[in-house]
Amino acid sequence: MDFTVSVLLGTFLLSIGALFVFVWSMAKGLFGDGNAAATEIFAPNELGKVEDPAATATQSGELQQAMGSPAKPGQALARADMDFRVRADGSTSLVVGVCLTLAVVWLVLASLAGLISSIKLHAPDWWVQYEWLTFGRIRPIHLNLVAYGWCSLSGIGVAIWLIPRLLKTELIGAKYALVGGALWSIGVFLGTVAIATGRSDGLEWLEYPWQIDILLVIGGALVGFPMWLTLLKRRVEHLYVSVWYIAAGLLWFPILFLIANWPGLHFGVQQATMNWWFGHNVLGLWFTPLGLAAAYYFIPKVLGKPIHSYNLSLLGFWSLAFFYSQVGGHHLIGGPVPSWLITISIVQSMMMVIPVFAVAVNQHMTVLGNCRALIYSPTLRFIVLGAMMYTAASVQGSLEALRAVNTVTHFTHYTVAHAHLGLYGFFSMVMFGSIYFIMPRVMNWEWPYPRLISLHFWLVLIGFAIYFIWLSIGGWLQGLAMLDEKTPFMQSVALTLPYLQARSIGGGLMTLGHLVFATHFFAMGWKFGPKRLGAALLGTRLLNLRFVTSTTA
């Protein structure tokens, strides 16, 4: 039989088989214990009680009012349950504080590198005398600082903070994660220097030389280590869906990164397929799981109500893992690679609609009807916006994999805009919200200037809207111009200029927003500002205040 046909048939049979296994395991309850697991993130009597440490006391009161009275308004949370949460949060404060601080530093540097890259595209004779600042170096520096600096370390920090909360126990082996995070950050620093001095490996997403990659593989494995130790001592019966995402993500990344960077293994066109197997899996099996884990925890936690459907969330988990892991080939449509590989990737890209739908229904249905909460909760504002962008980016990504669409968008700025919708619109927004929630617990201190949170939000939202909308339009027109053989190539370059300039303006606003965020972050680190209500973990005064507002409502 023809090889291509047999591969396609094999994949088809495998998918059908997997579907039956899936249906069977749903029937046997092998996908967890349904809705009991959904309430596992709450303490007894906690349902209906809002929690957002980033909100001021007034905002918290209004948030609680918007959500209605607690399920059991008179009953306070048991002292023992709160003690466990205090100890859970306390056990991670050092390692999470370190990871998030490093992440914020990388974010600021990454934003500056991105802004410089963006300006260079429409001012090509600006700052050309330095080798390390040439577009071909500062652009990969930007990508790697964002991916491995900001996104990875913030994702790791948030994941480590979530683990003890989800397992209702203290984190065990925090020191491994501390060493892991340090090795990882040293790797990011050395990798940046390597790219700046022209020692890049030459593959997108895999620019760091393999000697430096060792640090990220070991660091990545070490940050996962405390999670496995803590899992063995868990005090919860059900593993909440966030644990599934975090555990799988922390397992996947070191393996992906190891295979992708193994020196001397990959060659020629095979290396191109490997490149995009990695390039898309680092998004689908590393950033997305960490981002979704955070969204799945914080949305219900802030609102004080469980997610819409727990079983749907596990369907989302498994279908994401299965379909997302095979979509990489759509980056090579029209390239010199076997057509069966591309066809499978396009099909799986379309199948991604299933996990995306599962996540969208779950997260949006949980928020639906409580949209007023977005006004009062800074955390929720970022995370819900991020969740909406996840849906948008994923649907857009599926459509972009179709040959007809890809023929226009491939090789254009449209793809760049799409990549930012995913990693910025979704992931970074979710991380911002998570950090606003987490840091008051880590520092035992409130955010000193709540208005800076709003300023950050509006700067990055407006900046990103300009960035995404204009670059998408410019990229699409660029693609159409390149497809028309009567249009000279240079016209496809010239027509993008106004859009590239708009992108710099949007990127400038985003960078400004990040500077506001970083300033606020470090102001909190040095404990600036007045000590207000709510700084202490679920302080009694705050609880009392909530009860007053809820009983008078």
Binding site: G198, A247, V269, N281, A321, T415
Partner: protein, 217 residues
């Protein structure tokens, strides 16, 4: 405290096994299978391996990130008019027999370069274009690369390559000398020529069927 489930009922086991099986499947599909299929692809007879200077030039191409704006993979004429732009026929796996790391690229902020050596065989053009792209292609947004050259008063030393620039770009008495890596880079660009037929038979050997696996749009 929860009642302990048996080992086989633990969610941890499901996560780890499921996650590994799925990753293994995807890796098999997108990494191992292409490996097995492509490892025996032979270089076409007309394709020369890179010389050591061209290889140095290729490293300069990587170090300066040319790949972030230039692809090296012309598409089939049925999908896009790459061939009409002079970028060459659709490439096949064998064309990249000597290309590790691969430089297929994902952007066409600038044109495809897989056949730039055939399309623009002038060394002077490439050197001058690297020094100031806008002197050769009005409206280009490619960066200029002054750090690849030495500008000095007086004459060049023996063995140095002076760049022949349009008079507007130099001051009187000034010479612009290309650094060794720059010459190597241009040498590499000039070597980029896959204009031979994709399915040429290999003399004295079995036919190189590198075109069979080509993706058709």
């Amino acid at each position: 405290m929860s009642t302990r489930k048996s080992f086989w009922e633990m969610d941890e086991l499901r996560i780890v096994s499921g996650a590994m099986v799925i990753l293994g499947g995807a890796t098999g599909l997108l990494v191992v299978m292409p490996y097995l299929l492509l490892k025996d692809v032979r270089p076409p007879a007309a394709l020369e391996p890179y010389t050591s200077e061209q290889w140095v030039g290729r490293q300069a191409y990587i170090a300066n990130g040319c790949v972030y704006c230039h692809s090296q993979q012309p598409r089939d004429i049925k999908q896009a008019p790459d061939a009409s732009r002079g970028w060459g026929r659709a490439s096949v796996a064998g064309d990249y027999a000597y290309d590790t790391p691969h430089l297929l690229g994902t952007m066409r902020t600038g044109p495809d370069l897989l056949n730039i050596g055939a399309r623009q065989p002038s060394k002077d053009w490439h050197l001058g274009h690297l020094y100031q792209p806008r002197a050769y292609t009005p409206g280009s947004i490619m960066p200029s690369y002054p750090y690849m050259f030495e500008v000095r008063q007086g004459a060049a030393k023996p063995g140095e390559t002076v760049v022949n620039l349009p008079p507007a770009l130099t001051r009187p008495g000034e010479v612009v000398v290309a650094k060794p890596d720059t010459l190597a880079l241009v040498n590499y660009l000039l070597s980029l020529d896959r204009t031979y037929p994709a399915l040429a038979p290999r003399p004295g050997g079995p036919a190189v069927a590198t075109g069979g696996a080509k993706d058709k749009p």
